[in-house]
């Protein structure tokens, strides 16, 4: 079956999923922290849009609640909290240049191709067409992990972690029609609590080592190597 024969809702779903992949690239490469937070908000909005469309096309009513929850949490609340956090940590205008951006982009593209190759066996089974989105969501997860590897700033690491969660959510929605609502709520509140804890943590880290560069966390060892 080719693209043209799909109904409009499903075409829109694929378009939104592709744009979510684009936002994960933007998250990876964006130097300015505030812009990265905005990109993360867009990613959350796109994921909730895909959830709504899946709900509309498959008739699973509880997905509407999931979508609303995701939108409220991932696109509004958490970005607002991160924004507030970065203002209090005086990181408003912080921009961390990426070393070797070309290599990082090539690695991200390679991850996309790899996740496509991984998802191929799934795609050959004749289930809901949204299997195609599984490859994209796997790529979002891997790129989020790559972001955590490549970025040094602590808030950027949190963004990477959150975007991994976005990818997993997208995979769950597209492959199996969402998780049971109870689990949804549990996961959502876990994420919220994690956010609050991160905020508290960051203040402590900054007080201990006077910077939020995670590479410097090794200063916390007991040995006397502080000749930085």
């Amino acid at each position: 079956m080719s693209f043209e024969s799909l109904p409009v809702l499903e075409q829109l779903m694929l378009a939104m999923a592709a744009m979510a992949l684009f936002t994960s690239f933007v998250l990876l490469e964006q130097e300015r922290l505030v812009a990265a937070i905005h990109a993360f908000a867009w990613q959350g909005a796109l994921v909730s849009a895909v959830t709504t469309l899946v709900a509309a096309s498959s008739g699973l009513r509880h997905l509407y609640f999931s979508a609303l929850l995701t939108f409220a949490l991932k696109a509004l609340l958490i970005p607002w909290m991160l924004h507030r956090l970065s203002r209090r940590l005086e990181l408003d205008r912080y921009a961390e240049p990426l070393r070797r951006p070309a290599l990082v982009t090539m690695a991200a593209v390679a991850l996309v191709i790899f996740s496509y190759w991984l998802a191929l066996p799934i795609m050959h089974e004749n289930l809901i067409f949204t299997r195609n989105i599984v490859a994209v969501s796997l790529a979002v997860v891997l790129i989020g992990l790559l972001m955590m590897v490549v970025r040094q700033q602590a808030v950027a690491q949190v963004l990477g972690f959150m975007s991994m969660e976005n990818g997993l959510f997208l995979a769950a929605v597209s492959a199996t029609g969402g998780m049971p609502l109870l689990i949804e709520l549990g996961v959502a509140f876990d994420v919220l609590v994690a956010m609050v804890l991160f905020g508290i943590f960051f203040f402590h880290i900054r007080e201990s080592i006077d910077s939020l560069d995670v590479d410097r966390l090794n200063r916390l060892t007991e040995t006397e190597e502080d000749t930085r």
Binding site: R100, V109, I113, Y116, W117, L120
Partner: protein, 669 residues
């Protein structure tokens, strides 16, 4: 009738050997080199071209056995469409060298260099290349291959009073022999499965996948080393500039194609199986060579070194096309594989033509201005107009611009890469467009490189006194350049005609011709189908000329509004001096900054004793540090350890003899 081609080829070999022999007499009469040896060389080239055309036209196979070689292993000779095509390539460039040579070697007559060596080895070089193309068994092939390497070694070491040339020649010899050994081992693998060294026996062999892969790897390393693929290319930029310019043209234009011929013969004809893993390997190596070659070329300011690196790039493009052909053939799409194969062959021919033309231009500059450093040249278009315009054709062709020939082969290559949607593998469907994008990057960088070359060397103002006084070159050199320039234009404007001529090659090797591509007649190139892609080179060229002519007629002929000559704009300060122009290094600086990681760049500004700061910029090849030096260190270490065996003590030697005797007795018992 079938033997006309073989007779013409034999005549070509004979003429080349005669030219070599005649050169021996230049000891007594130096004029013989340009009066007799070079014209004979050119005639040999024409004979080879005729033999090739006959073979392509008749499209059948002619074989013969020579009474040379060992009694039980006579040398076999074969002239089929593939040999015929490469005979054409060799022949046309050699004929051009025959035209160009007399003017160029005149400069050597009054020097201290050995003329018999020059003429003798040139003739031998051509003869051995012709024999490689004609060989039909591994023995004859390897003997001719050796002769080719040795004669070109002597030519590279021609100016042996310069230490750098000696080093370059030694490195060339070393790598040629390593490559030759790999090829020999490859033949060995095939011969063991085919029971015999004759190519016919090897064709019938059906080695299993593992052994076939071993043979493929060995032949790829061996022929790739001779063709100049990265990372085995390091000898190319050292050896090609060291040789005299007409020899550099032969080496870059023809010898590299003979290596491509060897690979095609070994792989497409003798092995005959196609697997996608091999295709991916060839595609990847070709892509890396193309990109690395052009980036290194951009960083050079020595003209001949730049042209040598550019050859690395074009060989990479040829191997990209071959890799695509293998991928399509392994997936069963024979028509598309044929298009990619034809693109590879056409690019080989085109490269021979325009690289030869560019080396002729470099030789002309060397002959009249004695300069090979781009940063000392400038303004040569007005001093040497014929050379300038012919080199412009060469630069346009190598940058793959319509309506010249380089564009046609790149267009065919892109069209075959675009058909990747027919493949089943999704991963290949992403990787091939990415490599096509890398090819587009290579093409654009090549255009940048040759804008740099032409703009710095021929345009602007002269940057040194001897270049300001350059004089036009002799007629024979202009004729050689002109011949190649006309061919570049012809192959660009009438590609369908020329592709029709070489149609016999894929027909014989792959079993399928270019029928769809040529279905539109001489006017159109339509790979796959007319509504999928079509290019009419003659119409494009014609329309271009008509539109330009219209503009000139409407605007250019106004005699009332004559142009007035004045000074260039200088912002109101002093008139611009030649030193204010961009140099070659300056031109490439943005690209060097962006792609800097690929090179090993050392840049420093030092304050010298007299207070003047001195800027040093050193750009070298990373493969030296990554591959060659470690290998050299390992070899040296192993050699040092083995040298302990030679302690110089007589009793130790007797001891070794005793041990060996005991071992042999034990084995025999």
């Amino acid at each position: 009738m079938t033997h006309t081609g073989l007779n013409a080829a034999a005549l070509a070999v004979a003429l080349a050997l005669v030219s070599s022999f005649v050169s021996l007499f230049t000891v007594w009469s130096p004029r013989l080199l340009r009066v007799a040896a070079m014209p004979l060389f050119g005639l040999a080239g024409l004979a080879a071209l005729a033999a090739g055309l006959v073979a392509l036209a008749q499209a059948d196979v002619a074989t013969a056995e020579l009474p040379l070689g060992l009694p039980w292993l006579p040398w076999r000779v074969r002239l089929d469409a593939l040999s015929g095509f490469f005979l054409c390539v060799i022949g046309v460039v050699s004929a051009a060298v025959g035209l160009y040579g007399p003017g160029y070697v005149r400069g050597f007559e009054s020097g201290r260099d050995s003329l018999p060596a020059l003429g003798g080895f040139t003739g031998l070089f051509l003869a051995s290349m012709l024999m490689v193309t004609l060989a039909d068994d591994a023995f004859f092939f390897m003997v001719s291959w050796e002769m080719m390497s040795l004669s070109s070694y002597f030519l590279v070491a021609f100016h042996h009073d310069i230490a750098a040339n000696r080093r370059a020649a030694f490195m060339y010899l070393l790598m040629a022999h390593i490559g030759g050994m790999a090829i020999l081992l490859g033949f060995g693998v095939l011969a063991s499965f085919g029971d015999g060294l004759a190519f016919d026996a090897m064709r019938g062999a059906e080695p299993p996948f593992g052994w076939a892969s071993a043979a493929f790897a060995l032949s790829f390393i061996g022929f790739g080393m001779k063709a100049g693929l990265v990372p085995l290319h390091a000898w190319l930029p050292e050896a090609h500039p060291a040789a005299p310019s007409h020899i550099s043209a032969l080496m870059s234009g023809v010898m590299l194609k003979v290596a491509v011929y060897g690979f095609i013969r070994f792989f497409f004809d003798l092995i005959g199986q196609f697997h996608w893993q091999w295709g991916v390997a060839v595609l990847a190596v070709g892509g890396v060579s193309a990109l690395a070659g052009v980036l290194y070329a951009l960083m050079q300011h020595d003209l001949k070194r730049l042209l040598a690196y550019s050859s690395v790039e074009n060989i990479g493009v040829i191997f990209i096309a071959l890799g695509l052909a293998i991928l399509f053939l392994s997936a069963g799409h024979a028509t598309l594989g044929t298009v990619a194969f034809a693109a590879a062959l056409y690019h080989a021919l085109n490269h021979a033509l325009f690289k030869g033309l560019l080396f002729f231009g470099a030789g002309a500059i060397l002959h009249s201005a004695h300069e090979s450093n781009l940063d000392q040249m400038g303004g040569l278009l007005r001093r040497m107009p014929w050379t300038g315009y012919f080199s412009l054709v060469g630069c346009l062709s190598i940058s793959a611009l319509p309506p010249f020939n380089g564009f046609v082969s790149e267009w065919l290559l892109f069209q075959s890469a675009l058909q990747v949607w027919r493949l089943d593998s999704g991963v290949l469907r992403t990787l091939i467009p990415i490599s096509a994008a890398a090819l587009a990057l290579t093409g654009a960088l090549a255009a940048a490189c040759f804008v740099k070359v032409y703009g710095v060397a021929f345009l602007g103002q002269a940057r040194s006194r001897h270049v300001r006084r350059a004089r036009p070159v002799p007629y024979s050199m202009r004729a050689g350049q002109g011949m190649l320039a006309v061919l570049c234009l012809a192959l660009g404007v009438f590609p369908a005609t020329f592709l029709g001529l070489i149609n016999a090659v894929p027909q014989q090797i792959l079993g399928r011709g270019l029928n769809q591509t040529l279905a539109g007649g001489w006017l159109w190139l339509t790979p796959v189908r007319p509504d999928v892609a079509s290019y009419s080179a003659p119409l494009v060229a014609l329309t271009l000329i008509m539109l330009a002519g219209l503009a000139v007629w409407l605007l250019g002929r106004r005699s009332v509004f004559r142009t007035r000559r004045c000074d260039a704009w200088d912002c109101g300060f002093a008139p611009p001096t030649p030193r204010m122009q961009y140099t070659a290094t300056a031109f490439a600086q943005p690209i060097r900054r962006v792609f800097g990681l690929l090179f090993h760049i050392e840049e420093s500004v030092e304050n010298q004793d007299d207070g003047k700061p001195r800027h040093r910029l050193d750009i070298s090849d990373r493969t030296w540090g990554l591959l060659y030096l470690p290998v050299a260190r390992v070899v040296e270490g192993a050699a040092r350890r083995i040298s302990y065996l030679q302690s110089g003590n007589v009793r130790v030697y007797l001891g070794w003899t005793l041990v060996t005797l005991l071992a042999l007795l034990w084995i025999v018992s």
